[in-house]
Symmetry: C2
Subunit: 321 residues, 2 copies
Amino acid sequence: MAESTRKKILKIIEELDYQPNFLASTLASKKSAVFATLFPEPPSPEGYWNKPFVGVKKRIHELRAYGVQIERFTFNQSNSKSFVAEAAKIIELQPDGVVLAPFFKKESGQLIMKLKENNIPFVFIDSEIKNAGQLSYIGQDSYQSGFVSAKLLDFTLRSGNILVIHFAKEMDNQNHLVQREKGFYDWFEKSNTENHKIFTTEVSDTDTEFWMEKIKDEIDSKNIRGIFVTNSKVFYVGRLVEKYKLNNLKIIGHDLLKENTDFLRKGIVQFLICQRPEEQGYNAVNKLFRHVVQKRKVSEKNYTSIDIVIKENVDYYKEFK
Amino acid sequence: MAESTRKKILKIIEELDYQPNFLASTLASKKSAVFATLFPEPPSPEGYWNKPFVGVKKRIHELRAYGVQIERFTFNQSNSKSFVAEAAKIIELQPDGVVLAPFFKKESGQLIMKLKENNIPFVFIDSEIKNAGQLSYIGQDSYQSGFVSAKLLDFTLRSGNILVIHFAKEMDNQNHLVQREKGFYDWFEKSNTENHKIFTTEVSDTDTEFWMEKIKDEIDSKNIRGIFVTNSKVFYVGRLVEKYKLNNLKIIGHDLLKENTDFLRKGIVQFLICQRPEEQGYNAVNKLFRHVVQKRKVSEKNYTSIDIVIKENVDYYKEFK
DNA sequence: CTGAAAGCGCTTACAG
DNA sequence: CTGAAAGCGCTTACAG
């Protein structure tokens, strides 16, 4: 075909604004794809890490006509060996795409190298490793989320000091907790509020209740009036409050676990920051689908909103549609 | 076919978990549909009522392979005649579904009657008329939204009184503003906070700046420290604050209009309640699509979240994906 | 009423 | 390299 004819035809196509019918296209091409997810194992069906998978399943179900399938892999958050073992299984499976929560920096790096060698695209969820060659990151801007928490706590706290609590075993592997703390401190720095002193502490073992006494002592001795929990474990503080019948504490934490929202409703926790984990899972699968099956472009950053949840609006965040 | 054979076959279908391929099904059936939207005419491209339509267009574009089309109708918010005229055009068009914002109670009722006579399903957006035979309502629970606003204002307000401002011409036709006000008052009632007296006022004409003096006088004479604006017009109060160089006011309003977020960033407005209008439009079309084209069930209530937006998290609500 | 045939708008393997 | 033919998994009009 002559180049000039070609151009004429292309021009007409554009003029008519021709859009191929994607129904017919996928039906005829019979493409299909297998995606893998690698998230922490939730300790119970109520656990945080079931939520992203709810969204994953929903999108997979919607895409069943495209033949998209999912394989779920989970690892133990306090055992990097299990992460390595599951990562190996994924490489063996040779999926067409992977959604992963990059816990364990070093081990995640090794998995990512192998994924790249095999040309398998991957999407980060929950927390990100910058410039690792990911197709996309879906989750909160952790630093800014800490910023928001600081502002809210300051809103409600007229005096007294603040305690930041990390309930975590290997802080080094939980970069987003560090980022949240940093944002939290920076807000107070930036706003020149000298009303509150801020302290930070770590609780790595909650199997027994020994940690409770220690924290209780800190609250008393340091005149703590506000508490910021950097992850979804604020319900531990709720239990502490009930055990020692503490009052006059303003508490802020993360994520709409059943136990957390119970304490929110009771008025023991004032704020929960929510990151829509179901939406994260849903969107992560969608990114892979668009890239792998539809060959369309996807945006690299996809910060989810930093939702401020209080007793009065919690009911409108509970259901994922 | 014998009934017994029929049953056997149905059983096997169920056992195999047969799911018809919807790609093939829609391609073969060649169904198509025309939907109509009836929203207020936005005064400018920045106006609130463009936002739901952005979501409508997005979903329509995604569904183009299904042959779904949209016809947009708009009316003048201060002219019920224009509503009636547009409603007549819609009935003449005989669309397969309608998304409407039920302003003008009486006139909306008449449109709804005609839609029912013609078996045209309809979805309410923004505010609802209860038990009107709608397929679905998508929007906030206005009463609860007022409740949230009250709690937030109380959080930040240590003393002084509160002024509720309606910027609206025909309050009778704006039921959700009344609901927001009611929720606002009820929260203070319920929480037994006697710290603040609450006053309400209406501003029906903002064409000139005469209203400003009046409100300024009220603020001074009634020791007003907090202001709650029941709709998206809080930017008027922002202008008032700048004009008279007021300070020490805590202000809460609705909706992420450009002008509103500007005042939020400047620190003049403390809170904006956001109702994700683009999502409302998107979901409304989706409801009609599921019902009309896919013949699937849709849920009748679909309350959108009551998002609390402050300077620190506003950036994560601005873009609609 | 039943069942085979045509067709929806594409992709892809294959004959020429 | 080009172009006609077959086929994706359904729906629907139609012959029997």
